[in-house]
Amino acid sequence: MLFADTVVSDPAVHKPKVMLIMLVVATFLLTLFGLNDTIYGEFMRPVIGEPKESGFFGNVATGFVLAIIFVINVVLIGFAAFRVQILIVWLELLLLFLAFFYSFGLNYEFIQSKIWFMITQGVFTTLYISAISIVLASIVAIFGAVAKLSSNGFAFAIASFYTSFFRGLPLLMQVYLIYLGLPQLGYVIDAVPAGVLALTLCYGAYMTEIFRAGIQSINKGQWEASRSMGFGFALTMRRIILPQAMPLIIPPTGNQFIAMLKDSSLVSVIGVWELMFLARTLGNKDFRHMEMLITAALIYWCLSICLELIQSRIERHYNTISH
């Protein structure tokens, strides 16, 4: 949490002035959207009449009703405790999104018939490829970061070339280069190792930058103290600098992990049957790709929520120990 400042103002949303402002702003915005023609307008038909007749009045009326619902909701939530607020808002948003998905008119039986295969085949492949790549990329990144911070020109040059090249080229291209290029040098490499190699190199490059920023941010006094106690470079790094850099490194690294989960789908171009590949493939015959894509998207979301929970747990750990 931000500097709490020890002053928690009264929930602002309970002041009548704030409520009124919220109502006006929400009505205005929603009117701008022109909701008359939309499904929200449909609910209002009995009152406002047909789109063409109601026109601007219809827009305002629809917007106003929605705005009132919104404000009442916000005010009610304001009474709850922090954790309860979070829960309610999450649930509401979830419902909104499910309703949105619902508006696609999907075929749920079809989803049901395929979901098991997507999980056993697709999620499994996605997970093991990402997991291996993430571990390898983190290792690459630590060395890369140290090299990029070193005063050794050779190490610096290699590391900076590496980050530049593997961040600069599209991941798809790296997959191609490794899969199609290495055979030109005489190594025929399989699809999965090629994919893992490409993901490792690419994400290693991104994470090098993250680790560099984290390491760099640690106060010089910490280096001085540990070096003056005779700690070697590696010891200082491992025991003093990295643990303190963790709270800084973890959130962007979490980003990378979540992104990796989805970027691992690029290995499908070389014929690996991971989640996204299946999503695109399974729905093809019956033109049910929206069903499959949405299913895959929700599965990805679940996976990344798991990662987020793990991340916040690790973060809490490091924040507790260093305040």
Binding site: Q121, Y176, V188, G271, T281, N284, K285, F287
Partner: protein, 253 residues
């Protein structure tokens, strides 16, 4: 004849094909490869006396050539052109796809030329798009003649035909007024309740061939022979009727 040796000695024919191109090749309800192309590949393998195994690299990867023995054959409905044959060898044409125009079922268009000046979509860099651009030349042997029947106002290119159909289904003229695609694909979309209808007759026919890596004449000839046999003994016709309900194995005007 490295490839032929490899196939014969290992006893498996590795076939690269797309997994998302129904009804040519797709994953069926048992999550196995199925479709016209897949059946053709099975038949070819049977006649070679080997097992068949499918792999599904992307189109880019297959068409990059230099397969390095990762797979032996592509049964992927490729249109053989001279430029393309610098990269891959095309042993035999095994069927022809008709291309057709489709419109939303509420559309008022009656003939092809009703789409003149309208928004017409197609998969990007496909022969369909080239047709709309009036820049289509298929220099494969046995390609039937065709004429340009429509002059769209704006050509919208999509990642593939399906994306174009997704836009078309939003409603007549919402984003698109019509699209060009392969007739089988349009028909199967209609069967899957896409609110579309076919406009007029097929606009052109496209020959589609097997492909192999360059440099193995023996394999090339062997496959050409096998496909020839399959044509003459009616196997291909049966397969085509099974999957399309029509015989596409020869070009019909």
């Amino acid at each position: 004849d490295e490839a032929l040796d490899r196939v014969m000695s290992s006893g498996t024919l590795k076939v690269a094909t797309d997994a998302s191109w129904a009804p040519q090749s797709f994953l069926n309800d048992d999550n196995e490869m199925d479709g016209f192309d897949v059946d053709v590949a099975r038949e070819v393998a049977k006649r070679l006396g080997v097992e068949v195994e499918f792999v599904t690299p992307s189109w880019d990867i297959i068409t990059a050539g230099n397969w390095n023995g990762r797979w032996d054959l592509s049964v992927g409905s490729m249109t053989p052109t001279k430029a393309r044959s610098e990269v891959l060898s095309f042993p035999a044409v095994y069927y022809y796809t008709p291309a057709a125009l489709a419109v939303h079922k509420d559309s008022g268009a009656k003939v092809e030329s009703d789409l003149d000046g309208k928004n017409v979509g197609a998969g990007t860099a496909t022969t369909f798009e080239l047709y709309l651009q009036k820049d289509l030349s298929i220099d494969a042997e046995g390609t039937p003649e065709f004429t340009y029947k429509v002059t769209p106002g704006k050509i919208k290119s999509y990642k593939d035909s399906t994306a174009a159909m997704d836009d078309l289904r939003l409603g007549d003229g919402v984003r698109l007024d019509g699209m060009v695609g392969s007739l089988p694909a349009i028909l199967s979309a209609i069967k899957s309740n896409y609110p579309l209808r076919v406009l007029g007759d097929p606009v052109f026919y496209e020959p589609l061939a097997l492909a192999i890596d360059k440099g193995d004449e023996a394999f090339n000839d062997k496959l050409a022979g096998i496909v020839g046999d399959m044509k003459s003994d009616g196997t291909l016709k049966t397969l085509s009727e099974k999957w399309y309900g029509v015989d596409y194995t020869s070009a019909v005007e």
